[in-house]
C-alpha cells in the first residue's frame, strides 16, 4: 500500500518536474523567437526609476541594451529548464519565479525598446491594484479555513464601497466611512454565516444571492438617491498618502512600498497578522481543525459553529475594508458595479495562494502586476492586444486548478455543512 502510494507520488513529481522543465525551455525559445528576432540590434531600453512627486532620492535611469539582455534572459530560461530536466529543482516557487521573471522582463525589453518605461511607477501601481484583490483573497482564506465558502465577496465589497463613501461624505470623516464599510461587511457576512450554518443553505447559492442582492441594492440606492443628491452623498475625498519618514527616501523601494495610503499599509499588516494568527496561535489551530476535520475538532471541544461564525464575520469585515478601498481609498466616489469582478479575482488569488495568507497576497501581487502592465502596454502601443494580458490571470488560475503545475489543496471539509 505504502509502496504504491510512493509510486504514485514519485510519478506525479516526475510529471511535474518534466512539465516544468519543458515549460522553461519553451519559454526560453519563445523569448528568442518572439522578442529576440524582432528587436533592433542597437536598441536601448530605458527603465525610469524615479517617480514624479515622490520623496525618494533621485537615481539615474536604468538604460539597458535590449538585444543582449533578451539573449541573456532566453539563455537563463533554457539553462534552468535543462537543469530542471536533468537534475530537478525542488522549489516550485523558484521555478515559477524564474519562468515569469525571464519572460516578463524580456517582454518589457522588447516592448519598450528605444522608449522609456517607468518601472517604479508600474511596481507602485501593481501594489495599489493588488490591494482590493488581496483583501478579497484574505476574506476567502479566513472563511474557507473553517470550511465556509464565500463567493459573495464581490457583493459584500460593492455594498461596503457604497456605505464607506456615503458615511464618509455625510460625516466628513474618512475613518467613519472605513468603520461603516467594515461593519456592513461584517453584517452581510454574518447573514451568510447564519444562512449556511443555521439553515444549512448551500454555501455557493447563498453567496450568489448576496452578489445579486448587492449589485441590485447598490445600483438602486445609487440611481434613486445618490445621483440626485450629487456631491452631498457621493464625494468623500480619499485617504492621504502617508510617506513613512526615512524609509520613503530609499530609491525605487521607497515610492513603491513606503508612500501609500492607509488601506495599502493595513492590507500588508493584515497579511502578517493573519499568518501569525493562523499558524502560531491556538485560535489558528482551532480554525484549521474546523476546516479540515470538524468532527474531530468538535470531539476535542472546539465549538465548530462558533468558530465558523467568527471567521466568516471577520472575513466579511476584511472584505469591507476591500470595499472601502474602491471609494475612499482610491477615487472618492461610488459608481455602479465599480468592483468589476475584483472579488472573483480575489477568489482566484486565494486558490492560487493555496489558502494561506502570504500565498494569497503574493498571487494578488501577480494579478495586480498583470493589471498595471496592461495599462502600460496601451501607453507603449505594443502590438499585442492588452485584453489578452488581462486574460492571463484567469487562464493561470485554471491551469493551477488542474494540478499539473503544483496542486492547490483546499481545506478538506470546504463547503460542507456540519451536523452534530
Amino acid at each position: 500500500m505504502t509502496n504504491s502510494n510512493t509510486d504514485i507520488r514519485s510519478s506525479a513529481e516526475k510529471r511535474s518536474r518534466v512539465s516544468f522543465g519543458i515549460a522553461l525551455v519553451v519559454a526560453g525559445l519563445a523569448i528568442y523567437l518572439l522578442f529576440g528576432t524582432s528587436t533592433q540590434p542597437g536598441a536601448m531600453t530605458t527603465f525610469g526609476l524615479n517617480l514624479l512627486g515622490s520623496q525618494a532620492a533621485v537615481v539615474p535611469d536604468l538604460v539597458v541594451p535590449a538585444l543582449p539582455a533578451i539573449y541573456l534572459l532566453a539563455a537563463i530560461s533554457v539553462f534552468t529548464g535543462a537543469y530542471q530536466l536533468a537534475r530537478g529543482i525542488r522549489s516550485t516557487g523558484w521555478l515559477v519565479g524564474i519562468l515569469t521573471f525571464t519572460f516578463v522582463t524580456a517582454f518589457l525589453m522588447w516592448g519598450a525598446q528605444d522608449k522609456s518605461f517607468n518601472l517604479t511607477g508600474m511596481l507602485q501601481s501593481s501594489l495599489v491594484r493588488a490591494t482590493p484583490i488581496a483583501l478579497a483573497a484574505l476574506c476567502g482564506v479566513i472563511s474557507e479555513r473553517t470550511a465556509v465558502i464565500n463567493i459573495g465577496i464581490e457583493g459584500i465589497m460593492l455594498m461596503s464601497a457604497q456605505a464607506a463613501v456615503v458615511a464618509a461624505t455625510v460625516t466628513g470623516n474618512l475613518y467613519v466611512g472605513l468603520i461603516a464599510a467594515i461593519l456592513l461587511g461584517g453584517w452581510v457576512a454574518a447573514f451568510h454565516a447564519f444562512l449556511v450554518i443555521r439553515f444549512k443553505v448551500d454555501q455557493t447559492v447563498s453567496s450568489v444571492a448576496i452578489n445579486i442582492f448587492g449589485t441590485g441594492a447598490t445600483s438602486f440606492i445609487s440611481s434613486r438617491f445618490m445621483q440626485a443628491a450629487g456631491d452631498k452623498l457621493n464625494n468623500s475625498g480619499t485617504f492621504p498618502i502617508i510617506a513613512i519618514p526615512g524609509l520613503s527616501k530609499i530609491p525605487v523601494l521607497g515610492p513603491v512600498l513606503f508612500e501609500n495610503n492607509l488601506i495599502v499599509y493595513l492590507t500588508i499588516l493584515l497579511v502578517v497578522v493573519m499568518h501569525i494568527l493562523l499558524y502560531y496561535t491556538p485560535w489558528g489551530l482551532r480554525t484549521r481543525a474546523v476546516g479540515e476535520h470538524p468532527k474531530a475538532a468538535d470531539t476535542l471541544g472546539v465549538n465548530v459553529y462558533l468558530t465558523r461564525y467568527v471567521n466568516v464575520i471577520l472575513g466579511g469585515m476584511i472584505a469591507g475594508i476591500g470595499g472601502a478601498y474602491f471609494t475612499i481609498g482610491s477615487v472618492g466616489r461610488f459608481d455602479e458595479i465599480m468592483t468589476a469582478g475584483k472579488g472573483f479575482i480575489g477568489l482566484a488569488a486565494m486558490i492560487f495562494g493555496n489558502w494561506n495568507p502570504i500565498g494569497a497576497y503574493t498571487s494578488s501581487l501577480i494579478f495586480g502586476f498583470a493589471d498595471s502592465l496592461q495599462v502600460k502596454l496601451q501607453i507603449l502601443r505594443v502590438p499585442i492586444p492588452s485584453e489578452f494580458l488581462l486574460m492571463a490571470p484567469y487562464i493561470l488560475t485554471m491551469i493551477i486548478l488542474t494540478g499539473v503545475v503544483g496542486r492547490a489543496i483546499p481545506p478538506a471539509a470546504d463547503g460542507q455543512p456540519y451536523e452534530k
Partner: protein, 391 residues
C-alpha cells in the same frame, strides 16, 4: 397490487405538485413584499409602482378591449398591436432567461454548478452573430439554422472546457466557469474593438443578414419572434432527455450520488463533459436567440446579468424544465415591466435584482418560509447542488 394503489399514488402526486409549488410561490410573494417595503422606504407608493409594473408587463386591459373593438369595427390593427405590445415584449424578455435557466438547471441535475452561463451566453451570441453577418447569399432555410447551430456550438465548447477540467483533473467548475466568464468578456472586448467591429465608431458587430434573423410574427415595433417557441421546445426536449432517456437517468443519478453512480458502472467523466457541453449549448442559444431574434448585433456588456439571473430562476424552478419555464416567464414579466415602472413610478429597475436576491434566499432556505407562514415540514431529501471546491 399496482392496480389498487394507482389512484392513491395519483392523488399523492397531485398534492405533491401543490406542495412543490407552494414554497416557490410564497418565496416570490415574500420577495415582492420586501420589494414593496424597499419602495416604501425610498418614498414612493408601492401600489403605484406595482401597478406600473403590471401594466408594463401585461399591458392595460382597457387598451386591449378598445383595440379589439377598433379591430372588429374597422379591421384596423394598430390599436390592437399597441395594446398587446407590453405582453409580447415580456415574452421576448423571457426567451433568453428560459434558455439560460435550462442551462443552469441541467447542470444542477448532474450536481454541477454552472455559474458560466453568462460567458457561454456571450460566446454563443458572438458566434451566431459572426455566422449571421459574415456569410452572404445563403437562403434563409440554410443560413438561419447554421447561425443558430454556430451559437449553440460556441456556448457548448465554452461550457465543455470547465466540464472536461472537472472530469479529468477534479478542478472545481464554480471557479473555472467564473474564470471562463472573464476570459469571455476580455475576448469579446478584443473582438468587438478589432476583428468583429462594424465600420462605425462604436464597438459593436455589424448587423446580421436578414436571412439569419429569427422571423417575427408581428410588424414593427413588436419584436416577438420564433425564439420564444424554440425555447419552449428546448424545455420540452430537456424534460424528455432528463426523465425519459437512459442517458438522462444517468445524468440524474450522477447528480444525486456520484459514488453510487460510479459503483453502478456509470461513466462520471462522460456525464460531466456531456452535461457541461449541453448546458453551455443552451446558454449559447440564449445569446443566439437574443441576437438573431431581437438585437441583430452584439455590443459590449451584451450579457449583463443573465448568468446570475439564470441561477436564480433555475433554483426557483427547482431545476425542473417546466419549473424553469414558469420562473423564466415570471422573470421576463418582472424585468420587462420594471422598465415601465422605472419611467412611470421613478423606481430604478434594480429593484428587481433586490427582489431576486431575496427570492433566492427564501428558495434556498425553505425553513425560513416554513417558519414565516407556519407550514409543517414535509420530510424529503433535498437535492445536493454543490460539493465544495475539491472533488
Amino acid at each position: 397490487m399496482s392496480n389498487t394503489t394507482a389512484p392513491n399514488t395519483k392523488e399523492k402526486k397531485r398534492s405533491g405538485i401543490w406542495s412543490e409549488l407552494l414554497i416557490p410561490a410564497l418565496a416570490v410573494l415574500s420577495g415582492l413584499i420586501l420589494g414593496a417595503i424597499v419602495i416604501l422606504v425610498s418614498g414612493e407608493n408601492p401600489l403605484v409602482a406595482y401597478g406600473a409594473l403590471f401594466e408594463g408587463s401585461f399591458g392595460n386591459p382597457l387598451d386591449l378591449v378598445e383595440g379589439l373593438q377598433v379591430y372588429f369595427a374597422t379591421g384596423e390593427t394598430k390599436e390592437l398591436l399597441r395594446a398587446i405590445y407590453p405582453f409580447t415584449e415580456s415574452l421576448v424578455t423571457a426567451t433568453p432567461y428560459l434558455f439560460a435557466g435550462l442551462s443552469v438547471a441541467l447542470g444542477f441535475r448532474c450536481g454541477l454548478f454552472n455559474i458560466g452561463a453568462e460567458g457561454q451566453f456571450f460566446i454563443g451570441a458572438l458566434c451566431s452573430a459572426f455566422v449571421g453577418y459574415s456569410i452572404k447569399g445563403l437562403p434563409m432555410i440554410v443560413h438561419l439554422p447554421l447561425a443558430i447551430l454556430a451559437g449553440a456550438l460556441g456556448g457548448a465548447v465554452w461550457g465543455m472546457i470547465p466540464g472536461y477540467l472537472k472530469a479529468r483533473f477534479g478542478a472545481h467548475e464554480v471557479v473555472n466557469t467564473i474564470m471562463m466568464n472573464w476570459i469571455a468578456f476580455r475576448l469579446s472586448d478584443w473582438l468587438l474593438n478589432g476583428p468583429m467591429k462594424s465600420s462605425g465608431f462604436r464597438p459593436v458587430t455589424p448587423n446580421v443578414m436578414e436571412t439569419a434573423e429569427l422571423p417575427r410574427f408581428f410588424p414593427d415595433p413588436l419584436r416577438f419572434n420564433l425564439g420564444f417557441f424554440l425555447a419552449l421546445l428546448a424545455a420540452y426536449l430537456l424534460y424528455w432527455f432528463l426523465f425519459k432517456t437512459t442517458l438522462g437517468f444517468e445524468v440524474r443519478s450522477v447528480g444525486a450520488n456520484p459514488d453510487a453512480a460510479k459503483y453502478a458502472g456509470m461513466n462520471i467523466v462522460r456525464n460531466f463533459v456531456l452535461v457541461m457541453f449541453l448546458a453551455g449549448g443552451l446558454a449559447g442559444l440564449a445569446g443566439t436567440a437574443q441576437v438573431l431574434g431581437v438585437d441583430h448585433w452584439v455590443g459590449q456588456g451584451f450579457s449583463a446579468g443573465y448568468g446570475f439571473d439564470a441561477i436564480a430562476l433555475a433554483l426557483l424552478g427547482k431545476s425542473h424544465p417546466f419549473g424553469v419555464v414558469l420562473s423564466a416567464l415570471l422573470f421576463g414579466f418582472l424585468r420587462s415591466g420594471a422598465t415601465d415602472m422605472q419611467s412611470m413610478a421613478r423606481i430604478p429597475i434594480d429593484i428587481i435584482s433586490i427582489i431576486q436576491g431575496m427570492v433566492i434566499v427564501f428558495i434556498a432556505a425553505p425553513d425560513i418560509i416554513r417558519w414565516l407562514y407556519r407550514i409543517r415540514e414535509v420530510k424529503k431529501e433535498e437535492a445536493v447542488l454543490t460539493r465544495g471546491w475539491g472533488s
